[in-house]
């Protein structure tokens, strides 16, 4: 049985028998008709849409195998010329070139829609949701607590509480069965059921129970919306700021970007600023009063910082900030992943942990150094280079 292949290129589709061109047309559909007229019953096609059009005209169709595709691709220009879709190699190349330029520009246009600004909104919406969740779930806990205070005291997880309130309702409704599968230990289940018997809570009317349930339902909806936002932030960060994500993690990276006002701003920020992003209040207080400047802002949320002994935190935050600054520049200006940034970070962190294993001996150190017995000199604001930069920037705009 004869089997033909339809191979679609930028210049049009080509009908092939045993790898050689036997016909061509601008659109694959014309070739399908031709194949039918030739008495062919089965064709091999090169993309999904041809698959369905071939089946629509009653031909048996299969998708080309990758290795066959590879062979045809490597000779694409030759095939276009031999099937007369273009008079010569130069014109075939020019057709492909025009289409490639258009396709490339479409990809570029899409990328320039500033996905980072959307990401900044998403991370802020995420933080808003958290705040809302916190207050609303606390409210549910207090309100429902009028009826069943023992339960609200036993449950630390407010979202879990909202779920039980919606699904179980009145305290009389609690049973072994409906407490199962909620992550309670057997002991806790016993305790809840015991508490139900001798609850100090008051009665609750249908109307009020309905209102608490509605509020709890709202909290649950916000919680699931929050999870969706979180997934979006994580996948988007990997896409548009892979190096920052590598070094800082998706959420912290996104928060830094939000504080900075976009990936472009983060990419031109000095590491020292990144280190204290999110601690502006503490910084200005320090500048006013001469207190110690903050060592970290948002970066405190990073496991490597808050998980470290106190005396290492400043150093770790500084290293992190340095690497994030480099990562942000690569992400913004080059848009590629560079494993060396993360590797460099890991190396530095190891060094810090080894070198500053022991807490510093403050007193002894200070006594050795004359002139510092008076304690720390007040922090002085460095010369106002910042202001100068800002003015310059404005002029440039």
């Amino acid at each position: 049985m004869e089997q033909l292949t339809i191979y679609t290129t930028e210049a049009g589709s080509i009908l092939l028998r045993a790898g050689e061109a036997i016909g061509a047309a601008k659109a694959a559909s014309q070739l399908l008709d031709k194949a039918k007229q030739m008495g062919v019953t089965a064709v091999v096609v090169s993309n999904e849409s041809e698959l369905s059009s071939a089946r629509a005209v009653g031909l048996e169709a299969t998708l080309i195998r990758p290795e066959d595709r590879e062979r045809l691709d490597a000779d694409k220009i030759g095939l276009i010329v031999r099937s007369r879709l273009a008079p010569d190699e130069a014109s075939a190349l020019e057709i492909i070139r025009q289409q490639s330029i258009e396709a490339a520009e479409a990809v570029i246009r899409e990328a320039s829609a500033r996905p980072d600004l959307h990401l900044v909104q998403a991370i802020q919406a995420l933080d808003d949701s958290d705040k809302f969740l916190n207050t609303t779930a606390t409210r549910v806990s207090e309100w429902y607590g009028l009826h069943f205070p023992e339960l609200t005291q036993m449950m630390a997880d407010n979202i879990g509480l909202c779920r039980v309130v919606v699904e179980v309702g009145r305290r009389d409704g609690f049973s072994k069965e409906n407490l199962q599968g909620r992550g309670f230990t057997d002991k806790k289940v016993e305790a809840i059921l015991a508490a139900r018997e001798r609850s100090k809570g008051g009665e609750i009317s249908d109307g009020d129970l309905g209102r608490v349930k509605a509020l709890a339902t709202l909290a649950l909806e916000v919680a699931s919306q929050r999870d969706r936002l979180n997934t979006y932030v994580e996948s988007m960060m990997k896409k548009i700021a892979p190096n920052v994500t590598d070094v800082a993690g998706a959420t912290i990276g996104a928060r830094l970007m939000a504080k900075a006002g976009g990936l472009d701003r983060l990419a031109v920020m000095p590491a020292s600023t990144i280190q204290i992003l999110g601690a502006e209040k503490a910084l200005f207080r320090a500048l006013r009063t001469g207190a110690k400047p903050p060592k970290h802002g948002i970066l405190f949320q990073h496991q490597e910082v808050h998980g470290a002994p106190k005396w290492q935190r400043g150093k770790i935050a500084r290293t992190l900030a340095n690497k994030i600054a480099i990562a942000a520049r690569i992400d913004y200006f080059r848009g590629t992943e560079e494993l060396s940034v993360k590797a460099g970070l890991d190396l530095r962190l190891e060094q810090i942990k080894a070198k500053y294993k022991e807490p510093p001996k403050h007193k002894a150190e200070r006594e050795e150094r004359p002139g510092r017995q008076e304690g720390r000199p007040p922090f002085r604001r460095p010369p106002r280079r910042e202001g100068f930069d800002r003015r310059q920037k404005q002029r440039r705009r």
């Binding site: 899409e110 990328a111 080059r334 848009g335 494993l339």
Partner: protein, 216 residues
């Protein structure tokens, strides 16, 4: 000749014959030699120029060649490769970062008829396969770039074709001696059936970079 050498102040400088007279790609100088316009080719901005000044033969990329160029960035080096292969040649340029690809498309591909641009990942040659090439030039600064280069050569390099691979030691291993990294990458190529002819370190033009020239 499309590539020209000149001695100036005791130093050799490189020039390529401008395919599009009057047009600059970055801020290179345009010079007239024997009535023909040439563009200066800065070895500090282009690793290929650096390699040529450090002893890579001039004729590895020739007039009429088809070149698969992986990692075009904004197109500095590709524009000179386009000059060298001339009207009868072809440069298929692949870059996956949209921000830099924009400049490449605007300033190089749109202006030069022998350049076809793809915003694509060099790990997936199916998106830019159109013809077998005489040369694969790979400068993508990825940890697995040698594997990526091999993959592309298997698919798109002619038998006996040439691979020019830029190795940036720091993007492969931050701790190991650059020399060891270069040797290791050469060995990978030999194991994949290439014949490594030359390995050129690019200092003082580029620190910890080397160009490996191999035939397939």
């Amino acid at each position: 000749m499309k590539l020209r050498r000149e001695e100036r102040d005791g130093r050799t400088s490189l020039l390529t014959k401008n395919l599009v007279p009057g047009n600059k790609t970055y801020n290179e100088d345009l010079l007239i030699r024997d009535g023909v316009e040439f563009r200066t080719w800065d070895p500090f901005r282009s690793k290929l120029a650096a390699a040529i000044l450090k002893g890579l033969p001039d004729d590895l990329i020739r007039e009429g060649d088809k070149v698969l160029y992986l990692g075009t960035s904004t197109g500095t080096t590709p524009s000179h490769v386009s000059d060298i292969v001339g009207e009868s040649g072809l440069v298929v340029g692949v870059e996956f970062a949209p921000r830099v690809a924009r400049e490449f498309v605007e300033n190089v591909a749109r202006k030069r008829k022998n350049v076809i641009p793809y915003v694509a990942d060099a790990r997936d040659p199916s998106s830019y396969s159109l013809t077998k090439c005489d040369v694969v030039y790979c400068d993508i600064a990825q940890q697995d770039q040698t594997e990526i280069a091999i993959l592309n050569c298997r698919r798109l390099l002619k038998k006996g074709g040439r691979l020019l691979l830029i190795v940036k030691a720091r993007s492969i291993d931050v701790i190991r001696e650059p020399k060891d990294v270069f040797r290791e990458e050469s060995r990978k190529l030999e194991a994949a059936g290439f014949h490594v002819s030359q390995m050129i370190e690019l200092s003082p033009f580029d620190k910890d970079h080397a160009l490996i020239y191999a035939t397939y």
